[in-house]
Amino acid sequence: MKHYARRLKVQDNINTDYVISGRYKFKIQDPKELAKYIFQDIDPEFAARVTKGDVLVAGENFGCGSSREQAPQALKQAGFYAVAAKSFARIFYRNAFNIGLLLVECDTDFIDDGDEIELDIEKGKLKDKAKGLVFDIKPVPSVMKKLLEDGGVVEHFKKYGGFKFD
């Protein structure tokens, strides 16, 4: 599957209220339905532009604020294959891998909306095919890789009857 960049207008400090507002998360239980309302308060047209396999592109401190797991869940349900940002807030970081959404930390300044993206986690590279640029990804911790391989923390736990990281 080909992956294309979807770059947010606002790049830094995107909090989880912005990913999915409290107005919707208390009202709508179905994650697929919730996915229609992502970034409503900062870029109301954004959700309609997302297609399956896209990579969300953001700046520093993505996912700060509230611990709501609806944030990564709504991004996953919207069709995102991964989020690429310069840095992530910690609760969001855990939540995303726990539900099987890949996050990569790298320089995102030069990635434009619509650029075709290739991700190689093993080699630690993000390639912007439109620009012919290759960026180093900060190594994904082995714990996170394991959770992702197993399809999230619930599947990991069921598979091993507990945590198994070595």
Binding site: Y18, G22, F26, E60, C64, R94
Partner: protein, 420 residues
């Protein structure tokens, strides 16, 4: 090399020696969810296929974010939580009991040296009573509910020292807003913060909880303080658990150190739409307000209500201002009533709502109209936080909020300093 408080508490709960950067599985002493996160906790727990919770005395659910329920969707979530609590025989604080971050320490569920997880980002609050407490998502919490454990990356620690005598009209909220301005909203991401200094030592436990509550607003995992006599007395009065106070070693390794002198600090205000977008109150005297709010896990405690009441006593709020007060717990509500504070609020024109999160999360109890401006004692002023992306939220101390409600614009509480 010595160890930080975070390194020691996590080591104690992993049963082995840990240093920052290590990843370990730890035993968790207490965990909880609220009505914004418990629905997914229940779903994830059910997906695990485990038939009982690890220890029914170590888990609570709290209905505080939208309580009483404003709509059918929320009512269904509340019903689901009540059914789960009955089925698994676990504890629950229903509507009107208060905010989770007030109830967890006040009801004695945690004590010094504990390791606590909450499915709410402001779980870092109990760092003020020497608890390593941090927020996680719902599925993380479900894992702990099933197993009593979770995995932790031991954080590096930033040492923050706050010295100097706070001037009249300046409070712990002003201190943490000042620190947020300096460190920035991601300055402590993935890290623990330890707070020291004579300005902290003289503060009440209530005031310290305000500071640790906002540690997450600079990205921190937890905002820890040492357990002095005041803290030990506070927890012993509330919790049957034996405190296990943890101090940092003198030669502990910190990733950074910051020292602040607050003896000349003026009241601080965070402007829309970021917590670290902070100015002195004196720079904002032209800003008109439509709504004032005293409450939340940051500033809804008795001391906060007392400060606001002192300023409001015998006066009427500005006719263009709606003023909402939400005590942080039922016990605080009752105490405030006994002390005559509720009467002061109501007589001055405030609307006192149920103990809980009030309008902070934007689901009920005072949603703003387009273009409206609120000044609030909460911890977040993100765009849309109070329910409308076309409104504006300023954050300040209870004193600044009360002073502003009287004039209808952002006002300096030091003008009332004879009363404070």
């Amino acid at each position: 090399m010595g160890k930080t408080i975070a390194e020691k508490i996590l080591s104690n709960h992993a049963g082995r020696d840990l240093r920052s950067g290590d990843i370990a599985i730890c035993d968790v002493d207490f965990c909880f969810g609220q009505d914004g996160t418990s629905s997914i906790i229940i779903d994830s727990f059910n997906k695990l296929g485990i038939k009982k919770v690890f220890d029914r005395s170590k888990f609570y659910m709290i209905i505080d974010h939208s309580a009483p329920s404003p709509n059918i969707g929320v009512s269904e979530i509340h019903k689901k939580m009540r059914t789960f609590a009955k089925t698994f025989d676990v504890g629950m604080y229903d509507i009107g009991c208060g905010v989770c971050h007030q109830l967890v320490p006040q009801k004695g569920h945690v004590t010094c040296g504990d390791l606590v997880l909450g499915a709410d980002s402001h779980t870092c609050t109990y760092g003020a009573i020497n608890v390593f407490s941090t927020g996680v998502g719902s599925t993380d919490l479900a894992i702990t509910l099933a197993s009593g454990k979770n995995w932790f990356r031991v954080p590096e620690t930033i040492k923050v020292t706050v010295n100097g005598k706070l001037p009249k009209g300046v409070y712990s909220k002003d201190v943490i807003l000042h620190i947020a301005k300096d460190i920035g909203s991601n300055g402590a991401t993935y890290k623990a913060v330890e707070f020291y200094g004579d300005a902290i030592s003289v503060m009440s436990v209530d005031a310290r909880l305000t500071i640790s509550n906002m540690a997450v607003e600079i990205g921190a995992k937890v905002g820890l303080m040492e357990a002095d006599e005041k803290v030990l007395k506070w927890v012993k009065e509330r919790s049957p658990k034996t405190p296990k106070p943890v101090t940092a070693d003198p030669n502990a390794k910190y990733s950074a150190s910051k020292v602040y002198d607050v003896s000349k600090l003026v009241p601080q205000v965070a402007k829309p739409h970021a917590v670290d977008n902070v100015s002195d109150v004196t720079e904002l005297s032209d800003v008109k307000i439509n709504q004032a709010y005293v409450g939340t896990c940051t500033n809804g405690r008795l001391e906060d209500l007392e400060i606001a009441a002192k300023i409001l006593k015998g006066k009427a709020i500005h006719p263009d201002v709606k003023f909402i007060v939400a005590p942080a717990s039922k016990e605080i509500f009752l105490e405030a009533a006994k002390k005559g504070l509720i009467e002061i609020f109501v007589k001055s024109g405030c609307t006192v709502v149920a103990a809980g999160c009030g309008p902070c999360v934007g689901t009920h109890n005072g949603v703003l109209a387009d273009g409206e401006v609120a000044i609030s004692t909460a911890n977040r002023n993100f765009k849309g936080r109070m329910g409308n992306p076309n409104s504006f939220i300023y954050l300040a101390s209870p004193a600044t909020v009360a002073a502003s409600a009287l004039t209808g614009k952002i006002s300096d509480p030091r003008e009332h300093k004879k009363k404070l």
